[in-house]
């Protein structure tokens, strides 16, 4: 199926990725082609087939509830562009 520019802009908004006009046009063509190849799946009968999320027979893996040291907070905060008194800082979410 072919995507139009509005669809590409909408996906980019959901993904929080700023795209240039050239990128919107490029991705419109390329994503349309790639998604077109997904049609092969509609020919496969999956009636009654359970989905596979991952292949291991593991479910609900728990760790013992024992305190242990975390990474040093100051080392982790050192990686952030903006911090404030031990917190990550961002611009106001609601303006």
């Amino acid at each position: 199926m072919a995507l139009d520019r509005d669809a590409v802009t909408h996906i980019a908004k959901l993904a929080r990725v700023a795209l240039s006009d050239e990128e919107i046009e490029l991705f419109r063509t390329q994503l349309s082609e790639i998604i077109g190849h997904f049609d092969v799946l509609s020919a496969i009968d999956t009636e009654g087939v359970e989905p596979t999320a991952q292949i291991l027979p593991l479910q609900n893996v728990f760790a013992p509830d024992v305190p242990r040291p975390s990474l040093p907070p100051e080392e982790v905060l050192d990686l952030a562009p903006l911090t404030d008194d031990g917190y990550l800082r961002v611009r106001a979410v609601l303006e």
Binding site: E33, L41, L71
Partner: protein, 492 residues
């Protein structure tokens, strides 16, 4: 004294044990080789010469106290997708250009505990998305056998480093073929273990239900040796499989007499490169001559849907995993925008390269309201069918064999204009990730691509049952023992 930069791990370990060479000499030989050839090959994003010499000195002290260990004092290269404490980890992306992790990936820590000497971090497609290293935000690695061609990807730097003699072995990661495909194109051994066999803690996440860490080596014994070191349960990775890890070297030389080998016909299509077909058929005949029971008529009919399943599931998982790059916690951060959301969108728009953005967009689309059932859920159901077909095949066969890639190494720039054409490189490798199986690429010959072309390596893929790496390695070793490809070195 042999060429130190051409040794296997087991040859290096024997020389170290006999005190015929020191770890420092091995490290220096690797660094000298890097200095001599990496300007052309460009396998490394970051060199860690000082750390390598310090680790080599520490290894020499341990060797002097008669400590044994196959990896003790042997040089290794690490794909830049694995975090290393105090050494930058870029993941091939501008998003993580200056990122220095405050912790070590479990696999790296295990190698360091065993006495490994890290010479550097290797180039890769950005966030491991690609088949050529051309998606690296930094530069393209060259194939050591023909510098005008790609080394494969996404772990192309690791494959090229081992092929070019810049490290004795390397680690990579494989989500859809990213170890096996570059191993095939560079003429080295590369293995993706069973999903869950190796800890993913400290592996920068791409598609978490598919990603797995594995080695690049110069022979099959070395692959078994590295697996012995990196496999095993890790409480830091909830998907790491509990249970004991066998000694993968124990059954290596047991041969293939009576081994049931299946060749899926979907992996030998009419348009397969004739040179690749000839090499793979010769390798299958060699296994048969060693006593394997070969069936060339195995059917895995859903193979044709695997590419679509992969290019829905992997981008979907990627779109969720890469949501963490928001310019707030670490990595590249755009600060001059109109507010928090504008900053975040521009951080991601400027920090990610085109292929990463493309996959985030595909995944976001496949997971979005109105398309989830038709794409993501449908792909997960077909994933079940693909698994069941492998399960049924493994009722009758101990291993499946196939080509690794449809063609030998292609030219730089040849496929960058058409993402779907690039995706087709992984058509024989990604079903193995979808089913979570172990798979190896072992060199099976050389072909000229075109009448006047250089000789390029070809890989044989051997696929096994879940957690049966031992049989895969045994078959790979039996084939390797009949061949002499490992003696060839690239004309650098």
């Amino acid at each position: 004294m042999p060429d130190l930069d051409a040794l296997t791990i087991h040859e290096s370990a024997a020389l170290l044990r006999r005190r015929e060479v020191s770890s420092r000499e091995l490290a220096q030989a690797a660094l000298d080789r890097i200095a001599a050839v990496d300007g052309r090959v460009r396998a490394f994003l970051t060199l860690t010469a000082d750390q390598a010499l310090a680790q080599a000195a520490a290894a020499d002290r341990r060797l002097a106290q008669d400590e044994a260990g196959e990896l003790l004092g042997v040089p290794v290269a690490i794909k830049d997708v694995l975090v290393t404490k105090g050494v930058r980890t870029t993941c091939g992306s501008k998003m993580l250009e200056g990122f220095v992790a405050p912790y070590e990936a479990t696999v790296v820590r295990r190698l360091f505990d065993a006495g490994a000497v890290m010479v550097g971090k290797t180039n890769m497609d950005e966030f491991a998305m690609g088949s050529s290293t051309e998606n690296s935000a930094y530069f393209t690695t060259r194939n050591p056998w023909d510098l005008s061609r790609v080394p494969g990807g996404s772990s192309g730097g690791s494959a090229a480093a081992v092929a070019a003699g810049e490290a004795t072995y390397a680690l990579g990661s494989d989500t859809g073929g990213s170890i096996r495909q570059p191993a095939a194109l560079c003429g080295v051994v590369g293995m993706k273990p069973t999903y869950g066999r190796v800890s993913r803690y400290g592996l920068v996440a791409f598609a978490s239900s598919l990603d797995q860490v594995g080695p690049f080596t110069r022979d099959v014994r070395d692959t078994a040796t590295v697996l012995n070191a990196i496999c095993g349960h890790d409480p830091c990775d909830a998907t790491s499989a509990p249970g004991e890890t066998p000694d993968f070297t124990a059954q290596l030389e047991a041969g293939v007499r009576g081994l049931r080998v299946g060749v899926p016909k979907e992996y030998m299509p009419a348009d397969l490169h004739p040179g690749v077909r000839a090499c793979v058929e010769d390798a299958i005949a060699a296994l048969e001559a060693q006593g394997a029971a070969v069936d060339r008529d195995v059917a895995l009919p859903s193979t044709k849907a695997a590419l679509a399943v992969y290019y829905i599931i992997a981008p979907s998982e990627a779109s969720a995993n890469l949501a963490r790059y928001d310019g707030v916690k670490y990595g590249f951060s755009y600060q001059q925008g109109e507010g928090m959301w504008d900053n975040m969108e521009k951080t991601r728009g400027l920090g990610f390269g085109p292929e990463v953005k493309r996959r985030i967009m595909i995944g976001t689309y496949a997971l979005s309201s109105g398309y989830y059932d038709a794409y993501y859920l449908k792909a997960q159901k077909v994933r079940t069918i693909i698994r069941r077909e492998f399960d049924a095949a493994f009722e009758k066969y101990d291993v499946l064999v196939a080509p690794v890639t449809p063609t030998p190494a292609f030219r730089i720039g040849e496929k960058t204009g058409d993402p779907y054409e690039m995706y087709l490189n992984d058509v024989f490798t990604l079903p193995v990730n979808i089913a979570g199986l172990p798979g190896i690429s072992v060199p099976c010959g050389f072909v000229a691509d075109g009448p006047s072309g250089d000789e390029l390596p070809v890989g044989l893929q051997i696929i096994g049952k879940p957690f049966d790496e031992a049989t895969v390695l045994r078959a790979a070793r039996a084939y390797e023992a009949t061949a002499s490809w490992a003696a060839r070195r690239p004309p650098l």
